[in-house]
Symmetry: C2
Subunit: 361 residues, 2 copies
C-alpha cells in the first residue's frame, strides 16, 4: 500500500524511514511441510496443556484481572531451571521484545554496536528503530565468527550463538574472550538455539558484569505460539531492562502464557528428551543430505544451513515449494546459495530427502 | 535497588533518566475487595473459555507454531463488531502497547504534543521514552476538558474519553471541534472506558484523516488477563502503526489471546448486557455514596472519582485498606482529595458503602 505525501505528513518523520523486519511466512496450505521458521516438530510438554486448563477452570477471576506485571511465578520457574537468582531474570513477550528492550537499555551509546554481517536480521531493524549506529563485522570464509574482530571501539556487542542462519556455535572460551576484551560494554549473547547442542553462557553470568544472555521458549520448548522470551544477567543490568519495560508496557505476558511457560520450565525431563530427539534427527538429516551432494555447515541448532555445488539454492527452494515443502531462502549477498532448513521429525525429514532426490536433483 | 556509578555505566544514558509507569498494585490478600485497577467484576463471555479449550484440543500444532503475526482473524472480528474495514484496525499487546506504538508513529514532531494535566499517567512516560516534548493543558475547575484549549500549535493531541481518573466524558461534537481545529496533527482518542456510557469516536473515523481511536478488551470485555488492545483509524495511519510494530516485535499476540479475543468480539449480546450491568451498579453506588456526603464527578466509566468534604482522601484509602478494600489514591496536585473507585458487583459495592458508613465516616 502506498500513500500520498499529504497522508504521510501525519507520520513521525523518523518512522517514514523505517524498514521493518519480515518474518518467515505462515502459509495456510494443506499437507504443507513447514521447515522455514525453526519451529519444533514436537508439541510442548503435556503439563503445559494441564496448566492452561487449570487457568480456565478458575477463569472468572483469572481472565478479568490483570496478570502479575512482574510475572514473578515465571521468573522463579526460569531461575530454578537455569540455576540463577530471580533478580537475574527478565521476561518479555517473546525474545523479540526482550531484544528490543535490550537495544534500548544498553545500546544507545556514542560508539556503534558490533554484530556479524550474517546474523539475525532483526538487529539492524532494532538499531534503526532506536537510532543506534552499527558496524557489521564479516564472518570469515567458513562463515565463522572470529572473536578477535570484536576487540575494537564499540558501544556494545550482540552475537547470536549458535549463529543464525549459519547454525555454527562459538565455545564458551571464545565468548569469554569477547567479554574480557570489552569490560565497559554490554555483550549480549542471543541463545535462541542454544538448547540443541551448544554451551550456554548463562553459567558465566555470575562472573561477568557486562554479560546479558537472551533465550526463548519458541524453539526448544515448542512454545512459539505463546510468546515468552527471557534474559539472564546480573541485577544491575536486569534493572535497566525493567526500567525500559515499565516505560513501555506494564503487563506484556498474559495469564495463559505465564501459566503455560511455568509448566514448561518445571518439566525438565520432557525438555531434555525432546531436544535430544531433534539433535538425533539433525544428524540423520545431515548424513542423508550430504549423501545427496549438499555441503552443510556444522550445526548446533534446530536447523541446518545447506548449499549444493550443482544446484541454485533459490531454484531448489522454489522447486520444494511446488512440492509443498517450504524452507527459508535469503536472497542476500554471501548466503544466496544456501537454504536454511528447520529440523522436522524423522518422517518429515525423510519426505524432504525423498523430494529432493526424486524431484529436484 | 540502587546501583553504583560503575554498574550504571552499562545503561544507555537516556535510560538512566527514565521514570517508569507504576501500575495499580495486585496484592495477594484473602477476602480482598479490589476496586483499584478498573477491572470488570464479571467474567468474560463463556465463549472465550470455549475458544481457548478449542486451541488446547488441537494443542500440538497450535502451540509449537508461531501465531499469525498480523492476527488477521482478530482484526476481522474487531472490524465486524466496530463496523469498519479490516484495513482500519491495528491490534497490540494491551492498549498500553498500542499507545506506545502510537506515540512513536505520530508524536515525534517538532512541536510538543498536548494532553490534559490530569489524565492517564502513562502519557508522560511514553513521551520521555521516545523523547517527545509535551504541553499539559489544565482541566477546568470542574475537572472538565475545555476543547477550545486545544487550538494552539502542537505536534499531536491525545485525549482520554471518558477521561481518567476523572470519569468525565466529552461529547462527539466537542471531539469534532478538536479534530477540525488540528487538520495537520494526529488526534488520538483513548477510549479505554468508552463502553460504559460515552459515545465512541469510531463513527468519525471515515470522516477524519487525522483521527486515531484506541480501545482495550481489559475493561468492558473482562479480559485484562489477556492483553489485547486495538486502534481504529484510516489505513494511512494504521500503516504507520504496522511499520512501528514490525520494527519492534513481529508476533505480539499469542494464540490463546487471538482465539479468546475473537470469541469475545463475536458475542455482542453478552458484551452489551455486562456493560449495562456495570452502568446500573454505578448509578446505585453513586446514590449511596452521595447519601454519605461524597461529591462524585459525573461518570461515564466503570469507576467513579469521589471526594468527601469532611474526610481526607488519603486517610480514607488507608482506612479502607485496613478493612480489606483497596481503591486507587493518587497523591498528586489537584486530585489528592479524591478516590478513584472501580465499580464492583452490587454486593461488592454494598460492602464498600457499609464499610465507609460503619468504619470510617
Amino acid at each position: 500500500m502506498t500513500f500520498t505525501t499529504e497522508q504521510m505528513r501525519f507520520w513521525s518523520p523518523e518512522v517514514r524511514e523505517l524498514e521493518p523486519y519480515v518474518p518467515g511466512e505462515q502459509p495456510k496450505i494443506q499437507n504443507l511441510l513447514k521447515l522455514n521458521t525453526n519451529e519444533n516438530p514436537y508439541p510442548p510438554s503435556p503439563k503445559v496443556v494441564e496448566a492452561v486448563q487449570a487457568v480456565l477452570a478458575n477463569q472468572a477471576d483469572a481472565l478479568r484481572l490483570y496478570p502479575d506485571p512482574d510475572a514473578t511465578a515465571l521468573k522463579q520457574a526460569i531461575a530454578n531451571q537455569q540455576h540463577v537468582d530471580i533478580a537475574q531474570v527478565f521476561v518479555g513477550n517473546g525474545s523479540d521484545e526482550v531484544l528490543a528492550h535490550i537495544f534500548k537499555a544498553f545500546f544507545i551509546q556514542k560508539q556503534p554496536i558490533l554484530y556479524p554481517d550474517i546474523t539475525y536480521s532483526f538487529y539492524p531493524v532494532y538499531s534503526q528503530f532506536f537510532g543506534i549506529e552499527t558496524k557489521q563485522i564479516p564472518l570469515n570464509d567458513k562463515f565463522e565468527i572470529n572473536v578477535a574482530d570484536y576487540q575494537q571501539e564499540n558501544g556494545g556487542i550482540i552475537i547470536t550463538n549458535p549463529n543464525a542462519p549459519t547454525s555454527i556455535a562459538l565455545g564458551l572460551a571464545e565468548i569469554e574472550q569477547v567479554l574480557q576484551a570489552n569490560p565497559d560494554q554490554v555483550v549480549v549473547i542471543d541463545e535462541a538455539y542454544v538448547d540443541f547442542g551448544a554451551e550456554s553462557a548463562v553459567q558465566l553470568v555470575h562472573r561477568y558484569d557486562n554479560l546479558v544472555v537472551c533465550q526463548t521458549t519458541s524453539k526448544s520448548r515448542s512454545l512459539a505460539g505463546l510468546r515468552v522470551g527471557f534474559a539472564i544477567a546480573q541485577p544491575h543490568l536486569i534493572a535497566a531492562l525493567e526500567a525500559v519495560k515499565n516505560s513501555f508496557n506494564s503487563y506484556p505476558i498474559d495469564r495463559f502464557a505465564i501459566a503455560a511457560a511455568v509448566a514448561s520450565f518445571e518439566d525438565q525431563a520432557y525438555f531434555v528428551q525432546q531436544c535430544q530427539k531433534v539433535i538425533e534427527s539433525r544428524e540423520l538429516l545431515v548424513n542423508d543430505l550430504t549423501a545427496l551432494g549438499f555441503n552443510i555447515l556444522p550445526s548446533k541448532a534446530n536447523f541446518i544451513f545447506a548449499t549444493h555445488p550443482q544446484h541454485d539454492a533459490g531454484q531448489l527452494a522454489q522447486q520444494l515449494r511446488e512440492q509443498g515443502i517450504i524452507v527459508r531462502y535469503f536472497n542476500k549477498p554471501r548466503i544466496n546459495q544456501f537454504l536454511r532448513i528447520t529440523i522436522g521429525t524423522d518422517e518429515q525429514n525423510q519426505r524432504l530427502v525423498e523430494t529432493l532426490k526424486t524431484q529436484t536433483l
